[in-house]
Assembly symmetry: C2
Homo-oligomer: 275 residues x 2
């Protein structure tokens, strides 16, 4: 099993500066013991088979929900991760929620209101593509609410997530860690590939100018909100194939650790007759 | 391309009686020009590849939603159809809604309220596992509301579906047609296979005693609610592999017929600079 890339509660995280990231587990280029994509195909296929089996027991047992939170900079691969990690999953047991800029209706409630409405039910896997963490990321970087408001949110988020966990939801939080250079290459590739032009969003190019501010905001999130009940994982994401392997592995391991069982039938099967 | 199994508007449908079903297109044992599961693997794989590509254009173009409605008797394979037909789909672009017995909150509104809330947004595929058709099926069979109420619903449903279609939703309705004997075999298999015991639901065994009543209710649905804008298809479903092939084929063909295109970028890509 690969190293889990978990952030220990209160661990100090440095995402800025070449040296710091290279000297730690949090090097975006990390590919563990794998050298190339082909080497991961076989283990990934095995993991996908296990995931499908575990998903069926999750549904049958109906005791836990699994909530997967994906965060990261533009082009970090949130969409690709969902497509690749969940390839072959039973769509009926999986819900993806894409949190965009909040609507007027959502802004007139607290920031966790729309999030709470969207948590997965027992038996299912829910994926948040972005999440309530935007309320201490983009909101902090662009001063969308006063500091006195957002600085209380780290604790609020920890409390909210603990409540979810205590009531049967398992939470996995993945920060897809790409380097600034890798983002540049990916944006250039979108510009230079006509078939990717529909994905081009001018705002992404503007947001890039706030790279260091975002990294600082992410460092605080990772330091304050990686808890025993809902840990953050920093996923090396420059190499998409390694990112997919690490995340799939973590999801499978997490579901295995639940020691789930198919439930007993609620009827005495031997007494049923078919007319 | 296999015959489409479409129900023409107003067509008279007979689902009861061996002779009637065998003499028509609506024989549950029909496997078209295929003799065995292995023969369908290659075409199904090709269709899945096409479906994934079409799904991306559906999302990118953001002009249409696709709503797939699945109905049929217990054990007819609604869950299996979703798992097999949608295998390999991008889960982020697909929503499955499982309509169960309505809650108190839902019962205090009209029967289409919860359905309307659950329609897929543009760019996505939505699958209804059961639907508003239960409100003229189980409701009719068990007299859950007076005839004066349910008899108006066929027209209401046609009107509601037309409104959806006129506003960008494409609707496909599949009746998974199994025979009463096939249901017996499937229920027996659940009883005789310990690993399937968790799926055993006593209510399914009871509902089977109303088989003919359900078939009559389905005949009326198929006759009254197969419209030009939202047709019903009667899918031969005794052989699961043929059912999956026919449905996947129909979905792919429907998406192809939309002649979708990747949209133009909303920015002048040549003018973007990356800092």
């Amino acid at each position: 099993m690969e190293q889990p890339f978990i952030v220990k509660p209160g661990e100090s995280i440095s995402l800025i500066g070449e040296k710091k990231s290279r000297s730690s587990n949090h090097n975006p280029d990390n590919t563990g013991s794998y050298n190339k994509k082909d080497d991961t195909k076989k283990p990934l296929k095995k993991l996908h088979k296990e995931l499908l089996e575990l998903q069926e027991i999750l549904y049958a047992e109906n005791k836990h929900a699994l909530l997967i939170i994906l965060q990261g900079m533009d082009t970090c691969g949130k969409d690709g991760t969902i497509r690749k990690v969940m390839a072959g999953i039973n769509v009926q047991g999986c819900e993806v929620v894409n949190f965009k800029a909040p609507t007027v209706d959502e802004l007139s409630r607290d920031y966790l209101w729309r999030v709470h409405k969207s948590v997965p039910p027992k038996g299912k896997i829910g994926i948040f593509n972005r999440s309530h963490y935007e309320d201490v990321l983009v909101v902090r970087v662009h001063d969308l609410v006063p500091k006195s408001v957002w600085k209380k949110r780290y604790q609020q988020i920890n409390d909210f997530e603990r409540m979810l966990v205590e009531n049967g939801t398992v939470i996995l939080k993945f920060f897809l860690n790409i380097s600034k250079d890798e983002q540049k290459e990916r944006l250039e590739s979108r510009i230079n590939t006509p078939s990717k032009h529909w994905k081009v969003n001018e705002a992404d190019f503007h947001e890039r100018t706030y790279w260091d501010d975002y990294m600082q905001a992410y460092e605080v999130v990772l330091e304050k909100c990686s808890t025993e009940w809902a840990p953050w994982y920093i996923i090396p994401a420059n190499k998409k194939w390694y990112r997919d392997l690490v995340i799939t592995e973590r999801i499978v391991k997490t579901l295995q650790d639940l020691k789930m069982k198919f439930p007993e039938p609620n009827t005495d099967v031997s007494k049923l007759t078919i007319v």
